[in-house]
Symmetry: C2
Subunit: 318 residues, 2 copies
């Protein structure tokens, strides 16, 4: 018996998710005994439908038919943006379907609503791919570190800004020149605001805090400073201090229970594992009362890495 899945959207991450589920279907079945079958893809871009990357008969433009199909147990939202992603996910949960998404902005904006809607309908919403791409940080917090009190979360969780900062340091170039390089290499969008102003990193920090501590602190409730005002002098100064300058998303839980959270350029000591996170890579350092330090790193974005995390969540739900 296979588990039937619908994908909403067939852009970059949609293709990556489809790839991961199909290319490695035999490995997945051997490891888990489960067969995952993508039975519908919601997509209206005819070029994408005609691309041949998935059988044409999978495509539909009718979301209601997906919701009405009792055989579809899992809906993977990969549309991006706030709407219709938010309402589509809520409708899927209310229709008794599990939801998987990499959409950090939507989860961070409505964390409680998604969690309560899922619980009320006896289903789950999973979003490992929303933080750190392929890096299993949410699984690690919730499963592997479940017997720990996590005291500190420090992450380089935005690949665009880390790429820019690495280039600025390695090549001694200005922010503007490094941003241009990032855009040319596909690591920054034409409008880079959400990345360079730390909005994306703040969304991810909101999610990590919620997972680690069960608190919902919205992205606009803590300090957020981006990298767009940084100069070569700032990086030079960090080097002089024996540090690397990184856009750090950091949250610390004090013994009295208060949480100190921020996203801002921070000098990280060169011997910290965070200092070794270069280019578009992400890294997350967790401080815990039993495990001590746990560091995870890998690709925080991209078609296949994000697809890998989406597929893992889908398989876990199956």
């Amino acid at each position: 018996m296979s588990t039937k899945v619908a994908l909403l959207g067939f852009g970059t991450v949609g293709k990556g998710t489809y790839n991961a589920l199909t290319t490695n279907a035999d490995i997945i079945e051997k490891k888990t005994g489960k067969r995952i079958e993508v039975v519908k893809i919601l997509e209206r871009n005819q070029k994408v439908i005609d691309s041949g990357l998935a059988p044409k008969e999978l495509f539909t433009q009718d979301y209601d038919s997906i919701l009405a199909d009792p055989e579809i147990k899992i809906v993977a939202e990969i549309l991006g943006g706030f709407e219709p992603a938010t309402s589509f996910m809520l409708r899927a949960l209310k229709a008794g379907k599990h939801v998987v998404t990499p959409n950090k902005a939507v989860i961070a904006a409505n964390y409680d609503l998604f969690k309560s809607t899922a619980a009320e309908n006896g289903v789950c919403i999973r979003y490992e791919a929303s933080v750190g791409g392929a890096i299993p940080v949410i699984e690690t917090i919730n499963k592997s570190l479940v017997a720990n009190s996590i005291t500190k979360i420090e992450g380089i969780v935005n690949g665009t800004t880390n790429y820019i900062l690495t280039k600025m340091e390695d090549e001694n170039i200005s922010y503007e020149d490094a941003l241009r390089q990032a855009q040319e290499h596909g690591f920054a969008e034409a409008d880079p605001t959400a990345d360079v102003e730390g909005i994306d990193a703040a969304n991810k920090l909101t999610i990590l805090m919620a997972e680690a501590w069960g608190v919902y602190i919205k992205p606009d409730q803590f300090e957020r400073i981006g990298i767009s005002k940084l100069t070569r002098d700032d990086l030079r100064l960090a080097t002089q201090h024996g540090c690397k300058l990184k856009l750090l998303a950091s949250a610390e839980k004090k013994p009295d229970g208060t949480i100190n959270a921020f996203v801002r350029p921070t000098e990280v000591p060169s011997d910290s594992p965070l200092a070794s996170v270069r280019n578009e890579f992400n890294g997350i350092l967790l401080t815990c009362n039993m495990a001590d330090l746990i560091f995870l790193s890998g690709r925080g974005a991209g078609k296949d890495p994000t697809g890998s995390a989406m597929a893992a969540d889908i398989i876990a739900l199956a």
Copy 2:
């Protein structure tokens, strides 16, 4: 309803496991809804029993009474060594109890036997703590990377040798002097053979290959070279090559399916995340066909880190 657990042994890791389950019992219950209760501890050392670290009435010297107790669902083996650890674990599985262990030597020596005995009796054996201590590498391979074909495993999986190599490099001292320091700091045993000759690392590589590829390649079936013959010159040469010398446990799966595995001192490029693994820390780099590179690091040994991984396995079984 609580899940009842018996610990076999109350040495360092036994105490760490007990600590993790009791200190963070409220966190565990809040996160999972499960209450884990240690109801028996097999231990005959009277000093340990009298230590006050666990209630005296939990201790027993009668393993049969543990096996005969239908309420005990999980047995955590923390005796170390081959016997009676091996036969105690097999008896627990045959009695229909799940088993959790950090004992890499025993698992590597009898991987197939433990797996088949568990399957025949409808129970599980888990050993996250056996590789990389608190680092969630087995969970990552089996869950988070389930939609990946893993092509390469490279690990610094022995803290003792990594501590010695770090000291040799940092302080420009001989192998013998660094070993002495490691022994003084409790990072090396009086008889360091299993660590410095790469036996411990080979056991862990056997386990990682079995998890990643479903193949059982015993530790004596691949090349193993330890660090006891290394000199300051070897480390100096590595530095000249822009590398760090590390005791690497490495396994690569070629496109034709053959596996090339070894444990030996290896020059690791300075910009590899493996190069940043210092002192007694462990780190594992996984190369995958979807997620690309995933790097995990943390404490590979010690009371609470190992206890953290033991507790996570126990909770997952509960």
